[in-house]
């Protein structure tokens, strides 16, 4: 065999192999998105056919669009933490921290200086709420990145501390009252789409932009993909983790504002059932719990799917426990199916689509 021939062969072989893996990679990339889109449409169609009168009722659709955003934001917050290989159990507690801050500031100002004054100070109050969310996120960041506590434990601790402090602050009483701008936001729709949904979409777009198109976002992904190699590439784990949990805190803070916009009252215990739900959503949406991989779109679709499922179950007059069973079965089922499909694909041979250089670079996340 002459050189040319050998090189040609090797190159061919290499090309085929790499084209295959890049194809695989893209299937992997779109796995979360594709299957969630399918599941969303399937569940929607299922209930729409079984209970069209209830399920396709615009009120129901609006409800889904209004209820999903707060969960979606919290799921995105968890997704970010998972992207670095961590987890954030404290997101709900942070959201409540923001809600309690805003609500108690508002009611305090309203009591002292009148409602009008409190309304006038809305921007300041909301800013304070977001600041609290960011600060709580930063506390997580410090514990995880500087002290070096495993994320699941650090945030388990802070979840209890944040929640406990909110309890101390409110004395256990639900605080009523929130800036009317927030409640108005909860009631308004633009072109038929509730503002809350628009907020989720915008937040998701920003998160997607940050993780895919900014240096820090890429660092977050690399940190999750291989922390040792990131350190050896001069990426500061401290800075990266700090930013991650700060962003997670910010997203949770926005979710907290959404709590208030749906109902102008804040309590230390709101949303306790969300803690595990948002982890389920993040994973269903295609986030790798070991880090390095996630799709924002997948997470948003997973949020909607579970919302549709829950609403469909109520429409079908099924109990909350039957919904819980379905949720568990879907989670485990989707993962198992995924795994079966993935190994089967790995075993069968593939066609060898030749790839255009630049096209792939573009389709890649960079």
């Amino acid at each position: 065999m002459n050189n040319e021939n050998r090189n040609g062969l090797a190159e061919m072989n290499g090309r085929v192999g790499a084209a295959w893996t890049s194809l695989l990679e893209r299937i992997h990339v779109q796995r979360g998105v594709g299957r969630m889109a399918f599941l969303l449409i399937a569940t929607f169609a299922f209930f729409a056919i079984l209970k069209p009168s209830v399920f396709l009722n615009p009120v129901n659709l609006t409800n889904i669009a209004v209820a999903a955003p707060e969960i979606g934001l919290l799921s995105l917050a968890v997704m970010l933490a998972m992207l670095t290989g961590g987890i954030d159990l404290s997101v709900v507690a942070i959201a409540n921290g923001t809600a309690v801050t805003v609500s108690s500031l508002y009611t305090a100002i309203a009591a002292a200086q009148g409602e009008a004054q409190a309304e006038a100070m809305t921007p300041v109050i909301i800013f304070a709420g977001i600041l609290v969310g960011a600060a709580l996120g930063a506390i997580n960041g410090v514990l995880i990145s500087i002290v070096g506590i495993t994320p699941i434990l650090a945030t388990l601790g802070t979840m209890q501390v944040f929640n406990g402090l909110a309890l101390v602050w409110t004395g256990g009483v639900t605080i009523s009252g929130a800036p009317s701008a927030l409640t108005a936001m909860g009631d308004t729709a633009i072109a038929g789409i509730p503002v809350l949904m628009i907020i989720l979409i915008v937040a998701a777009a920003v998160v997607a932009l940050v993780i895919n198109r900014t240096p820090i976002g890429r660092k977050i992904q690399l940190q999750g993909a291989n922390p040792v190699a990131s350190r050896f590439s001069g990426i500061s784990a401290r800075a990266t983790l700090m930013v991650t949990y700060l962003m997670s805190g910010l997203l949770a803070a926005i979710a907290g504002l959404l709590f208030l916009s749906r109902n102008p009252s804040a309590s230390a215990d709101y949303g306790s059932s969300y803690v595990l739900l948002v982890i389920v959503i993040a994973v269903l949406g295609g986030t790798n719990p070991n880090g390095g991989f996630a799709t924002v779109m997948g997470v948003v679709l997973a949020t909607l799917t579970l919302q549709v499922l829950s609403s469909g179950f109520t429409a079908m007059r099924l109990s909350a426990y039957e919904y819980a069973i379905a949720q568990g079965v879907i989670l485990v089922g989707v993962m198992v199916l995924d795994q079966v499909k993935f190994t089967r694909r790995r075993r069968t041979k593939s066609p060898n689509p030749t790839e255009d250089h630049t096209a792939v670079v573009q389709s890649n996340s960079l």
Binding site: V16, P215, L222
Partner: protein, 499 residues
């Protein structure tokens, strides 16, 4: 071995594909009792895959494996072990959380189908084999705390505990010193006399020639040649592996005296690592640092790159003293580092080539909007991809799919994309085949010619001779000798390393 022996192990027409890649494409091979059979081939030619199939770790797509006349389509790892196949894996496959003794004895405990595990028995088994090999390993230490060389020795010990009929060694000597290699070979010969069949994989062709009787060369998953080892020379094996002539003559000379000093290390010290190390590195220079394993050569590099910072002494880059207390300090000072263990320290295996290439230079691509400038990224990636001659269909391929040599080029590209002043490479061609090795060294020479300073930590003497302008020899943490330009030759290095 005059009589025609029956093979203890025979594989026929083995095919194994990963996705679309043919890792093995109809490989047949036999192992006779008492022979050392060498498997040679470039990175990714399928050597490890063949070994994994014989040891039951992977299932072949088709083909037959027969051990002691029992023919099967595949085995499980425990079936292989029960049949007398022992393997020293390329990645060692040890348990970092268990003690050295337990790592050594675990396999035999399992093979004997024991239900209970006894500490004294385990310790005894381990001690016996360690003494047999004349090694000194702390048997109670967790493997995680041991050096790479010790781990390799433990992997060897583990494979030698059982009554092997077939011993397979996948690059068993990468981290070993010459004396350790010699001792290993003594044992291999002893086993040979007992009729054990040995399959030996190494990129060190002199070792191959020294130990083996027969030789099979793989290329792209197919057997290219097979024959008696004594018919081959290093050069002819290399030619069979790559399909072309290989050159290892000295290719560089000393750099001019007046080249600007890029790096000045003075009196660098870290307790237990190295002591008052001083040297300079000039623009355009490739400086080799060598010494026995444990001599402190890697520790010096790790200190300069901030992985384990020095306790005293100074490091000046471009005439300016930098306090290097962390990797980030080193990176900011313009130093790049290609680690020894590229899979875990150098690469993001499940990310694309493109993502890996820009991993160290993300901040430099920030556009005015704060977003990454994708156009600029594309251009520089395409440029590096071409310049480093990375063999992959496109930059979106996952790094996991690359062979050792190409993966190493990706690590190089990651640093070159930062335009470093100084590039340190620790074992740049460990586990890289001859063809790729030459190309990587050529790339280093090109980079040096463009004015950066390169430090190569290596114990591969031919590589040092062919490409270094100057060589420092480290012994027990101190620089004991310096060879410049024409003074450099293989024998001198070997002699001074040992002394």
């Amino acid at each position: 071995m005059a009589q025609v022996a029956q093979p203890v192990l025979e594989v026929r027409d083995i095919v194994k594909t990963y996705g679309g890649v043919h890792a093995l494409n109809g490989v047949s091979l036999s192992l006779l009792p008492g022979e050392v059979h060498c498997l040679a081939g470039e990175n990714g030619s399928g050597k490890s895959t063949l070994i994994k199939i014989i040891s039951g770790v992977e299932k072949p797509d088709s083909g037959k494996i027969s051990i002691s006349d029992q023919e099967r389509t595949h085995l499980t790892p425990s079936e292989a072990i029960v049949s007398g196949v022992q393997v020293i894996y390329q990645d060692f496959s040890l348990f970092p959380n268990l003690s050295a003794a337990e790592n050594i004895a675990m396999l035999s405990e399992l093979a004997e189908r024991r239900k209970l595990s006894s500490r004294t028995r385990i310790r005894e088994v381990a001690r016996r084999i360690v003494e047999d090999l004349g090694l000194s390993i702390d048997l109670d230490a967790d493997v995680a705390t041991l050096s790479v060389a010790d781990r390799q020795l433990i992997a060897i010990c583990r494979a030698l505990v059982g009554e092997a009929k077939v011993l397979i060694m996948d690059e068993p000597t990468t981290a070993l010193t010459h004396t350790e290699v010699d001792r290993l070979f003594i044992i291999v010969r002893r086993l040979q006399e007992r009729g054990v069949a040995v399959m030996f994989v190494s990129h060190k062709l002199d070792e191959v020639l020294q130990i083996s009787q027969r030789l099979t060369v793989l290329r792209n998953g197919e057997v290219i040649e097979s024959g008696v080892a004594s018919d081959y020379t290093g050069r002819s094996i290399a030619k069979a592996m790559t399909g072309r002539e290989v050159n290892d003559a000295r290719l560089v000379d000393a750099v001019p005296e007046d080249a600007p000093v890029l790096l000045k290390v003075s009196e660098l010290t870290r307790e237990g690592g190295f002591d008052r190390v001083s040297f300079e590195l000039r623009s355009g220079e490739i400086l080799g640092i060598t010494g026995l394993l444990g001599s402190g050569r890697s520790e010096i590099a790790e200190a300069i790159f901030g992985i384990n910072p020095a306790q005293s002494g100074t490091i000046a880059v471009d005439g300016e003293v930098h306090r290097i207390g962390s990797i980030r300090d080193a990176v900011k000072a313009g130093i790049g580092y290609v680690p020894e263990d590229r899979l875990t320290q150098g690469l993001f295996l499940d990310q694309s080539i493109a993502d890996n290439m820009v991993a160290a230079s993300l901040d430099s691509y920030r556009s005015r909007t704060g977003l990454l400038d994708r156009g600029r990224i594309r251009t520089s990636i395409a440029e590096l991809f071409a310049r480093l001659r990375i063999a992959a269909p496109n930059v979106a391929a996952m790094v996991r799919s690359l062979s050792g040599g190409n993966a190493q080029r990706v690590v190089l590209a990651k640093w070159l994309d930062r335009r470093p002043h100084i590039l340190i490479l620790n074992g740049p061609t460990v586990g890289v085949d001859i063809g790729s090795k030459e190309e990587i060294l050529a790339i280093l020479r090109e980079q040096a010619a463009e004015g950066i300073g390169v430090i190569v930590i290596s114990d591969d003497i031919p590589e040092l001779v062919s490409s270094c302008h100057r060589i420092l020899i480290v012994h027990e943490g101190r620089v004991v000798s310096e060879l410049i330009g024409d003074e450099i030759d293989a024998e001198k290095i070997q002699l001074r390393m040992a002394a």
